[in-house]
């Protein structure tokens, strides 16, 4: 088992995933590897329809203990439930030019975000949730409405595979558009690097939350963006605006990291304050953390 587990976890590694062929294969690999590791985790199920009893095992969620059975038989049993199928999930993927950046990671942020979106869609499909996709830069570039019917996943994965980097990003605008368009409470997953002005993004996300949706935000950052490991005086040219800053990394690194930490703190403070899950992800790290974050949010949605 340990060998199998390690092999499964290996398939969550971006370096491995990057070498896989189609988006469907990538998503399947990620999700199955993730679920294989999940056997040892407390996430066992999130449906509301009763399926069966089984004896309590250490690590089981105490909330699933059936206290009435315990009172009658003096034994611990936990209840197993069938999955629910009426959840509508929308994955919002930032495809602006900055998402195409790849510094020290095996995949660009867009590739990583696409695999993450595909994995989430695959996972949602397994749980029979209706899944939709919105790709945007400064405007909505592509939109696939949420559906739960068979074949929809294939279309979504195909769309993800064909995504190309756009131009400048404007997270706030598509968020507002989506918030206005959603007719029922949904789970909205935003995948973006969130490196532009945080104010419109936060407002858009609050708008979504205000309309009754649960929101999970994945901020994808390349290791180079997280650590700024450059050496020697350089002219840093913005991939979206082409603005240039000439600087000696050694002398500006601390200030840059301070700015980044401030941005992260602001997102964390503002979004958590609004009941929005905010997860910052290093694109050189495996995707299981992102998927776990999603499952936590979905569990709260129930």
């Amino acid at each position: 088992m340990p060998q199998a587990a390690s092999r499964d976890v290996r398939f969550l590694d971006p370096a491995v995933i990057a070498r896989l062929g189609t988006m469907e294969l990538k998503a399947r690999t990620v999700v199955e590897g993730f679920l294989a590791g999940l056997h040892r985790s407390p996430f066992k199920g999130f449906s509301v329809e009763f399926a069966e009893y089984r004896p309590y095992l250490p690590g089981d969620d105490l909330s699933t203990l059936d206290w009435k059975v315990y009172a009658r038989s003096d034994r611990h049993y936990v209840k197993k439930f069938e999955e629910e199928t009426n959840l509508e999930c929308h994955v919002l993927l930032d495809v602006s030019a900055s998402m195409a950046y790849r510094g020290g990671a095996p995949m660009s942020k867009l590739e990583y975000g696409s695999v993450l979106a595909a994995s989430l869609a695959f996972l949602m499909n397994r749980q029979r949730d209706a899944t939709g996709l919105v790709a945007f830069d400064e405007r909505i570039a592509f939109r696939l409405p949420a559906r739960a019917r068979p074949g929809h996943l294939h279309a979504l994965l195909l769309a993800l595979e064909q995504l190309k980097p756009g131009t400048r990003s404007d997270v706030g605008r598509p968020l507002h558009q989506l918030a206005e368009a959603l007719l029922k409470r949904s789970l909205v997953v935003l995948i973006s690097d969130l490196l532009d002005d945080p104010e419109p993004a936060i407002k858009g996300l609050r708008h979504l939350k205000f309309r009754g949706s649960d929101v999970v935000v994945f901020q994808l950052l390349d290791p180079y963006e997280l650590t700024f490991p450059f050496r020697g005086a350089s002219r840093f040219r913005d991939v979206e605006s082409s603005d240039e800053v000439t600087a000696d990394p050694a002398s500006v690194r601390a200030a840059y990291l301070r700015e980044l930490a401030g941005l992260t703190r602001r997102y964390d403070r503002e979004l958590r304050g609004a009941g929005i899950d905010y997860v910052q992800i290093d694109t050189s790290q495996p995707l299981d953390f992102a998927l776990l974050s999603y499952l936590s949010a979905r569990a709260r949605r129930k």
């Binding site: 900055s98 950046y101 690097d193 490196l195 532009d196 390349d222 180079y224 963006e225 450059f230 020697g232 005086a233 350089s234 002219r235 840093f236 040219r237 913005d238 991939v239 979206e240 605006s241 603005d243 240039e244 800053v245 000439t246 600087a247 000696d248 002398s251 500006v252 200030a255 840059y256 301070r258 700015e259 980044l260 941005l263």
Partner: protein
């Protein structure tokens, strides 16, 4: 701002290096695509500005350091810092000729007026001079200068104008100045055809307090066994008559009438049998002239002539030198010569010998060597003339000198003898005869290591020719060629006689048997006034008198006086260089430049590390 070595300023072009590097470093920064430039821009904006400022500061510090280094090497000085004509030097003649009735008071009045004429901010210095010049008041306020004038009184010295010119140049120290000499323009203030040098930056003005043409003076006193002969000089236009007095121990012992015609001198014999010891004073009355030269002092007693011992190898040697000394004749300054062979040296009584002329060291045994060494160290003089007869190793052994010679040198015909200092007592009396030294042909000489010796004259090929040194209380002179016409033809030239005489006199000098001195040249212990004193370790009597030349009151015109002063042009050539050098040396701005450069480098280091 001027520079002593402006070529070093080209080193300032080195500032191009940091500037080029500064711009190159900026241009070679590679473009790096990045996403979070907004974050880089926002906070680092100030950092970048600070960095740009830092870079500029670094660049400035490096450029300044290089410029200061180049500037320091160029040795800057401020010509403008030169006080210019803001220095006034008032020189007052205090020689005894200024003590004529009313003359010195007039001189002080002229000096006061010269000080009063000083403009606002002009510094004033006061110098008093006779045969030497003293700074009575250094450059300062007119008030201090006026106060200093009150301390000047006429003395008994003779006028020497060269002294005041030298002192003025020293006070001005390269600056421009105005020298006002208040003097009676006495012709005797110049030695012969001597001239004085004065920097061109010092303007010269002479103010004459007036002079009295009439002066009667006693210019010499010669006691003989039968009488006393006094020489009187009358510089007036009228004949002077009166009685001349001989005083001994403060009382008049004899008088005699005199008559001196206008502008003439006369010897007055006075019938006085002077005792063999003691002193006398001979005086005349002169109410119109200078009081200081009305009396002259003389020490009594028979003067023993100097005796010089020639040490030679046999009966030969020293012929030419002996003949030269015999040329002095039978005067009081005569020098008696005795010649002995070297082996006879130990038996010789040296008590009445003032100097030994060593012409040979052959057969000079140890006792003879010890006798010579003891004689010299006791105060005797030794004149060594190189020759084939003299072995330098023996000389070195006598006095414990290090190796004296490194052999002999053959000389081409073009080599001549050239004194280094024509004012040396041996060469000073030569006067025009000094040129004759250049005609002597030297064929051979010792090559001498001059360590421990003072070189007085050299051959024109650079080898030492005439050297001297002290040995105990005595003096040793060494002539590196010979006196017997073996290595040169010196004895055939007229300069040979004064050379030998003055050398022997000079080497005999340490015994200092002189008893007549002029004020200012008297030995230690004698007063600054004319009179009879006891001086020296032998406590002998000496007579100190005023310089009789000062009593010649014939003045010279201001133009003639000014013509005697050579103006050293400080605006061109080496003189200008010397003046610049002096200014730069005094200001030493390069030190501040280097300190500032050090500060710039410290700042560069500090900015570079932040």
């Amino acid at each position: 701002m001027n520079f002593l070595y402006p070529a070093f300023l080209l080193g300032g072009l080195a500032i191009a290096i940091p500037i080029v590097l500064h711009f190159m470093r900026r241009d070679i920064a590679p473009a790096v695509p990045f996403t979070a430039v907004r974050l880089l821009q926002r906070s680092p904006v100030t950092r970048s500005k600070r960095r740009r400022l830092r870079d500029l500061l670094l660049l400035a510090a490096r450029v300044v350091a290089l410029l200061l280094l180049a500037g320091a090497f160029a040795r800057p000085y401020m010509a403008a810092a030169n006080p210019g004509a803001a220095l006034r030097i008032v020189a007052v003649d205090r020689s005894y000729s200024m003590n004529a009735p009313g003359r010195f008071a007039q001189a002080i009045a002229l000096a006061t007026r010269a000080i009063d004429e000083a403009g606002g901010g002009e510094r004033v210095a006061v110098v008093a001079f006779d045969d030497h010049a003293d700074t009575i008041s250094p450059p300062g306020t007119a008030t201090a200068a006026r106060a200093a004038l009150q301390g000047i009184t006429p003395g008994f010295g003779a006028t020497r104008y060269a002294e005041v010119c030298a002192k003025a140049a020293e006070i001005a120290a390269g600056d421009e100045a105005r020298l006002i000499v208040i003097t009676d323009l006495q012709r005797g203030g110049w030695d012969g055809d001597d001239r004085a040098a004065l920097p061109a930056g010092i303007s010269l003005e002479v103010r004459d307090p007036g002079f009295s043409s009439s002066n009667l003076s006693v210019v010499s006193v010669t006691p003989t066994p039968e009488r006393v002969i006094a020489a009187l000089r009358n510089t007036g236009a009228q004949s002077r008559t009166g009685r001349i007095r001989v005083e001994q121990d403060g009382r008049i012992v004899q008088t005699a009438p005199y008559r001196v015609g206008p502008n003439s001198s006369v010897d007055i014999p006075i019938a006085y049998h002077a005792p063999e010891t003691g002193s006398i004073a001979v005086s005349v009355d002169d109410s119109e002239g200078l009081p200081a030269d009305n009396t002259r002092y003389a020490v009594l007693g028979v003067t023993r002539p100097q005796t010089v011992l020639f040490v030679r190898s046999g009966s030969n040697g020293g012929y030419f030198a002996g003949r030269a000394l015999a040329a002095i004749g039978a005067s009081a300054e005569r020098i008696a010569v005795r010649a002995i062979a070297a082996p006879a040296m130990p038996q010789e009584d040296l008590s009445h010998t003032s100097a030994i002329v060593l012409l040979s060291t052959r057969a000079l045994d140890q006792r003879a060597r010890d006798a010579i060494a003891g004689f010299v160290r006791a105060g005797g003089g030794l004149f060594i003339a190189s020759s084939p007869e003299v072995e330098s190793a023996v000389l070195s052994a006598i006095f414990g000198w290090k190796s004296l010679t490194t052999g002999t040198i053959e000389m081409p015909a073009s080599v001549a003898l050239s004194p280094i200092d024509s004012r040396h007592p041996v060469f000073r009396p030569f006067g025009p005869l000094a040129a004759n030294l250049g005609q002597v042909r030297f064929a051979r000489a010792w090559r001498v290591s001059s360590e421990g010796w003072d070189v007085v004259a050299r051959f024109t090929d650079g080898n030492a020719a005439f050297l001297e040194r002290r040995e105990g209380r005595g003096r040793v002179v060494l002539f590196t060629s010979d006196l017997d016409r073996q290595w040169n033809d010196f004895p055939l030239h007229s300069a040979f006689v004064p050379f030998v005489i003055e050398s022997v006199r000079y080497v005999s000098g340490p015994q200092d048997h002189g008893r007549d001195y002029v004020v200012g040249a008297a030995p230690a212990g004698a007063g600054a006034r004319p009179g009879v004193y006891r001086a020296g370790s032998e406590n002998r009597l000496i007579a100190v008198n005023v310089d009789p030349r000062e009593g010649v009151t014939t003045p010279m015109g201001r133009d003639e006086f000014t013509a005697r002063v050579e103006r050293v042009d400080t605006t061109r050539g080496s003189s200008a260089d010397a003046r610049s050098l002096h200014l730069e040396s005094r200001q030493s701005y390069w030190r501040y430049g280097l300190l500032l450069m050090l500060a710039a480098l410290v700042a560069e280091s500090f900015v570079g590390r932040t």
